[in-house]
Symmetry: C2
Subunit: 435 residues, 2 copies
């Protein structure tokens, strides 16, 4: 038996705003950051659990404080009972009635819970000697269902529904696992499309994306319609009429504006319109989906929890669901999200990029393929080519596909040197302010 002895947190920020990587209509100058946590134990195996919440700079310290507030739930506890019943562990922490008031189940406290849950999964996977996706994909349907909190879901997805979905996927698991290990999981790239890039850079990167085998590119839109038309036209010229090009407005529009703007770009056949308006506006997304059909609506990177995803699906507001590894309360809640998508027959194409999001979320898509939806059809994981060098097990892309990771763990462990080099401090704050 071993114990959790510490929850170590750190505030890590990369000065990405200096290069305008990641610039879009809502986020002109992000500094990709991680509110990072390490769960330390006294076990002889020396294994620690790593995870983080991704933020874009200011406020990363608030997110760290949110994680620190969870120490009381974990430090001093015996580890094995927590790991053996990850569903119960999840429900205990999510159910803290006092902390719940700060959400409930949304924002800083919810993402903080996600970080510690993901860190526990990292320990569990490392102990099992398996990458997270494989650990999950080898659990029985009953074990997986036990991980999910069905509260507030049962008018759309019951425990029995979930069991049936998972049971149906048991046949063929090992074939799909082998296929995944052989061929990977399709990726698409947003690298050409940042708003801050010149047309020349967009064209060059779009050409490279196709040459590298990506199945789709994505352009940021929403700041200026004439610019969007020009940039989309250029992208189409480079990519040809049939290559999928998605667009992403990063919540920039009103409902009516979204419908008009997207229809003005319809001649370029967008593969989807992503985040057209407030991520909280389920009914607004439904109105937009009706107004731009057959162009599909996608959202999810800011969908705060499973209750929002449930409604987006119930209202037929999205045709593509974009989970994020660190926006919700970790692996457990994302399993609920994958099951909801499977129930409604909507493909999941995760949000990634940022720092470490590709490393983390690939495990969920791969688990989905092997054990939940059983399909890669119409599914792909976002890919942005930066900051991977900071991770112990960096994402590997070949021919535009994510190679299935084989190293044990959840993929979120950042190199110690990177954590040190980019640690935020009062001195750095002063220095960066004068750049």
């Amino acid at each position: 038996m071993s114990r959790i002895v510490a929850l170590e947190t750190s505030d890590i920020r990369f000065p990405t705003s200096l290069s305008l990587d990641g610039s879009d209509a809502m986020n002109p100058d992000p500094d990709y950051s991680a509110a990072y946590v390490i769960v330390r134990t006294d076990a002889e195996d020396g294994i620690a659990g790593h995870a983080f919440v991704f933020t874009i700079g200011r406020g990363n310290d608030v997110q760290v404080a949110g994680i620190d507030a969870l120490a009381g739930h974990l430090v001093g506890r015996e580890l094995e009972p927590l790991l053996d019943d990850m569903g119960g562990t999840f429900r205990e922490i999510i159910g803290d009635s006092q902390l719940r008031w700060l959400g409930p189940e949304k924002g800083v406290m919810h993402m903080a819970i996600g970080a510690v849950i993901n860190a526990l999964w990292d320990i569990k996977a490392k102990r099992a000697g398996l990458p997270l996706w494989q650990l999950l994909a080898r659990m029985t349907p009953e074990e997986i269902v036990d991980l999910v909190d069905f509260r507030y879901l049962t008018n759309a997805l019951t425990r029995e529904d979930a069991r049936e979905i998972l049971q149906a996927g048991v046949a063929g698991r090992s074939e799909r696992e082998a296929e995944l290990l052989a061929t990977g999981y399709p990726g698409y790239t947003t690298s050409p499309g940042w708003l801050g890039y010149s047309d020349e850079k967009l064209e060059r990167l779009a050409r490279e994306a196709m040459a590298n085998g990506f199945t789709q590119i994505k352009l940021k839109v929403g700041a200026d319609l004439d610019d969007d038309i020009r940039r989309f036209r250029k992208a189409r010229e480079v990519c040809g009429p049939d290559f999928p090009i998605a667009i992403d407005a990063n919540q920039r529009w009103e409902v009516s504006e979204a419908i008009a703007w997207v229809n003005a770009l319809a001649e370029f056949s967008p593969a989807w319109i992503e985040e057209p308006t407030s991520p909280d506006d389920v009914l607004g997304h439904a109105e937009i989906a009706r107004g731009v059909a057959p162009i599909r609506v996608a959202t999810g990177e800011h969908a705060q929890n499973r209750v929002i995803f449930k409604q987006l699906l119930q209202a037929e507001a999205i045709q593509v669901m974009q989970i994020d590894a660190v926006r919700v309360a970790g692996v457990n809640e994302n399993i609920a999200n994958l099951l909801l998508a499977a129930k409604f027959g909507v493909p999941v194409c995760p949000h990634a990029g940022g720092v470490g999001l590709c490393e983390a979320v690939q495990h969920l898509s791969m688990f989905d393929f092997v054990a939940v939806s059983g399909s890669r059809e119409g599914r792909m994981i976002e890919y942005v080519d930066h900051l991977h060098e900071h991770f112990v097990v960096p994402t590997e892309i070949r021919g535009g596909s994510y190679l299935a990771p084989t190293a044990p763990g959840n993929g979120m462990e950042m190199k110690a040197a990177s954590r040190d080099d980019y640690a935020w401090s009062a001195e750095r704050k002063g220095a960066d302010a004068h750049v």
Copy 2:
């Protein structure tokens, strides 16, 4: 010209869990707390702006960290330009693209923004020598409309709609102001209904509530149906068949469970069912509203922002709207909420209680009566009789009505002695843990 010189924060916690005041089906042992902020200036008038976010204990430190993160927006700034354009000030802070990632517009960071906005309104009202409700109610329709961020609202409420609503209320403002000062604003009380109370205490407090002139009482429900039936029956025996008795499930139920449970209590004619399920579940509330009609559905104390309120109204999911003074981004966002309610013709009956919530939210209802809805019909403010003694201008209740406060400010200033006595500290944390 004066400057903001400091944002002083403090973590204040009252050990209310010891008496089970405030116990309900979701929150068995709250410690009513305030993440408190004082905006200090170098002005010769010595006026400081006070405000807080209400929490129920653990995590109050995270909420304080959220407020601290806003110092960069205010400290060192000239005060008058901020106060003269409170709409612009609001939009600047809410629009911080990096902090926005932590919500967006929900949870810890959103409530933190509410606290600093409310503190600025406190300074503005104190400088004007007016209680907040009167300051707001004497602004022109155009000035009020300028306070609102219409982003994400325009498919339900446009700037022009808001202006028309306010313009229609200009006639009769001074009569309503006089009426309010003479007769106050109706209150209802939740004091009899906490789950942790004995039947005898419930009956005694219900009798007292009627004797004191309150227009409604409220019972907490949702833990055990047999208990709820017994308690509701006793309350009806005390109050008679016609006295309004609302019920509140504090998010305890699934959608189908809510419909069945409320219908099982229908014989006692609940005035409304409050928070039947997740506050994020707009479609779920709409389903419940259809399933329990003509019993009305109420929610809002956990409605994270104006986008959720917009949808609750669009979907006819609520027939009573319950704003909270500190859940959203302060006075400005609550003006948007009041305008939405007026547009949809739904009465606003604010959530209060906690610590300082009565003191704060009464200003919004009184402003609503004088300048927005123009009516007190079917409207009342929740009242819970505790912790008022800690405020510089405590709520005054007479004959079950809130007397209109006349002291300048927003009502949120806590006495210095109370702030000192209940300051949270590492030592107190250790001591309370051993209670």
